[in-house]
């Protein structure tokens, strides 16, 4: 049995909007509609989509915070909305936007409180603390109150907190939001390691394709509440036909670069933009250009999730 099973799950919200002076209008927002998916034990799945697509709503239903409007879902064989507190022992949650730690307490005290609340056996607690302190570099922030931590430090604390009780499933809702490049990259290393070493099932939401690219073999794309893609990252690129962009800074302005498999889409002085298929390697292209032109600098831009989705719609128009 899959550790997460979602069958025909929808969730809508009735919101009241102000209209004119005193008028109020009821409107139904379909945050998530008719979701179907399963996640196997030990998988690391990327759940991606633009802002407001329904990612957080899905996570909240998987934890039991929100009750689905319709449909069935189970996590570790339990129904989250009715077995919420029992399920809580077996899952871990990280909200990128807000902390699950105690604002006024030093990180160490927050962890100790979690140890008591989750009744984590002493040996497990000590072992986990040792591991996380090392891998997440917590030593020098353990005595700092959570409210004084930077976003990146707080996120490290939150992730350790979510894993302290050895959960089988961990949901991370936008864990990399607002982090700098170095924090992002060390966080990704840690998640990869956790998934591999501990066999923890991870569901990670993001609107950053790079997170997915570096972590997940499987990606689910949600847009306007509906699952529009579920498969491998390569499959997504092939389907979306999204193109990566190579930005080339030449030593001197020149003619548009001509190289096989790439289109030069923009030239601005010495800087040129070339696009190429996302499923091909950049290496031959870079080598070819470097051999034939005087290059000062090169960088590659990944397609944004919005681009990928837009491309998917233009390639495979869906009804309705």
């Amino acid at each position: 049995m899959s550790v997460i099973e979602v069958q025909g799950v929808s969730r809508s919200f009735v919101v009241r909007r102000k209209v004119g002076w005193l008028g109020r209008e009821r409107e139904t927002v379909h945050a998530v509609r008719d979701l179907h998916f399963g996640v196997e034990r030990g998988e690391m799945v990327g759940y991606i989509g633009p802002n407001g697509a329904g990612k957080s709503t899905t996570i909240k239903m998987l934890t039991g915070i929100l009750v689905p409007t319709s449909g069935r879902l189970t996590v570790a064989g339990m129904v989250p909305s009715t077995q919420r507190t029992a399920l809580a022992r077996r899952i871990g949650v990280v909200f990128g936007q807000r902390t699950t730690l105690w604002w006024d307490l030093p990180l160490r005290d927050s962890f100790d409180l979690l140890r008591r609340i989750y009744r984590i056996p002493d040996a497990r607690y000590r072992a986990n603390m040792a591991t996380f302190t090392e891998l997440l570099d917590l030593a020098e922030i353990l005595d700092t109150p959570v409210r004084q931590l930077s976003l990146g430090q707080r996120m490290r604390g939150d992730i350790a907190a979510a894993l302290l009780h050895d959960p089988e499933v961990v949901y991370l809702d936008e864990p990399t939001i607002g982090l700098d490049v170095i924090s992002k990259s060390s966080l990704r290393d840690f998640l990869r390691e956790t998934n591999r070493e501990r066999g923890v099932t991870i569901l990670l939401t993001t609107h950053d394709l790079v997170d997915i690219e570096q972590l997940c073999s499987r990606v689910m794309v949600i847009d306007k509440g509906s699952l529009v893609f579920d498969g491998s990252l390569d499959g997504l690129h092939a389907l979306g036909d999204a193109r990566r962009t190579l930005v080339v800074d030449l030593v001197e302005p020149g003619e548009p670069i001509r190289s096989l498999g790439a289109d030069t889409v923009k030239v601005e002085g010495p800087r040129q933009w070339l696009t190429f298929a996302a499923d091909t390697s950049a290496a031959p292209l870079v080598a070819d250009i470097a051999r034939r032109y005087q290059v000062a600098d090169l960088s590659i831009l990944e397609p944004s999730i919005e681009d990928v989705i837009k491309q998917m719609y233009t390639r495979t128009p869906r009804e309705g």
């Binding site: 919200f13 407001g52 039991g64 915070i65 929100l66 936007q97 006024d104 409180l113 609340i117």
Partner: protein, 271 residues
């Protein structure tokens, strides 16, 4: 069931103890706050004392008798306030989106809300009420039968439960309208102030409302009628004087139902 209750109590103790430790790290401020609570809540009773410098009785009740009513109501409110005084911040947590966090921990969200920011300084209010209550018991000139003595812990226990249930209902309403905490306070704190005085000074309609709608007369009024051997202005059967557990049970059931329904309809916040 028993296991769940035990682990809930344990979690409450763990969380409350953590907040006590936090408040004790600022000892001076803690002491000032506690004494402050003692003095401020004491002002209510000073007002009664001032009144009695001009009159000998109020609504047919002597100073000691009113002190007994006052102490009973304030003590029960104080105990309930100590146990779950911060549950009224539910609406604020809902608006800020921090209530979500309580729903992903393996302890009931209710217990976590009750213990949140547990404030030991509220002992100030309890001490003040306790002092007045104890003085009244000593000063009262009554025949202390076993039944009357037993009525005192009975009053405190069920009165506290009644207030606990009212606080809970007031908080649960915030699942529907997250800014209702002021309204809820009017019923709990306001109601307890009404109950500090003898019901004989209020119109009969108000007394009926405080018996059948917001049943605060069961906290201290009816038990006091028994202890002080006074007639019931509503003329209800004397069994009503012992009905506090019934009122407490009905309110607790209502509170549990409201809270559960609130959790189910909880919709978090859109980000």
């Amino acid at each position: 069931m028993v296991d769940a209750a035990r682990s809930d109590l344990r979690a409450y103790a763990v969380l409350a103890w953590m907040w006590i430790r936090v408040s004790l790290t600022y000892r001076t401020s803690f002491a000032i706050m506690t004494i402050g609570q003692f003095l401020i809540t004491g002002l209510d009773f000073v007002a009664i004392l001032v009144m009695f410098s001009n009159v000998d009785s109020l609504g047919g009740f002597s100073l000691a008798e009113i002190a007994f009513l006052y102490g009973g109501s304030a003590l029960c409110l104080g105990c309930a306030d100590l146990v779950l005084g911060n549950i009224e911040r539910l609406g604020q947590r809902i608006r800020m989106g921090t209530f979500d966090v309580m729903l992903v921990r393996p302890v009931s969200a209710y217990i976590q809300m009750c213990a949140d920011q547990f404030a030991l300084r509220r002992l100030g209010r309890i001490t003040q009420a306790g002092v007045v209550f104890a003085w009244a018991i000593v000063a009262l000139d009554i025949d202390w039968t076993w039944a009357r003595v037993a009525m005192i812990p009975y009053l405190v226990v069920f009165g506290t439960v009644i207030f606990l249930a009212l606080f809970t209902i007031g908080a649960a309403v915030q699942f529907w309208t997250s800014d209702a905490s002021e309204l809820a306070n009017a019923f709990t704190y306001g109601g307890s102030t009404l109950a500090e005085y003898p019901m004989t000074i209020y119109p009969l309609e108000a007394v009926k409302a405080l018996t059948f709608v917001l049943p605060l007369t069961f906290v201290n009024w009816y038990p006091s009628l028994f202890i002080l051997d006074k007639p019931d202005p509503l003329g209800l059967p004397s069994a009503v004087q012992f009905a506090a557990p019934v009122a407490a049970a009905v309110l607790s059931l209502a509170a549990a139902t409201c809270w559960r329904a609130g959790i189910r309809r909880y919709r978090s916040t859109g980000s």
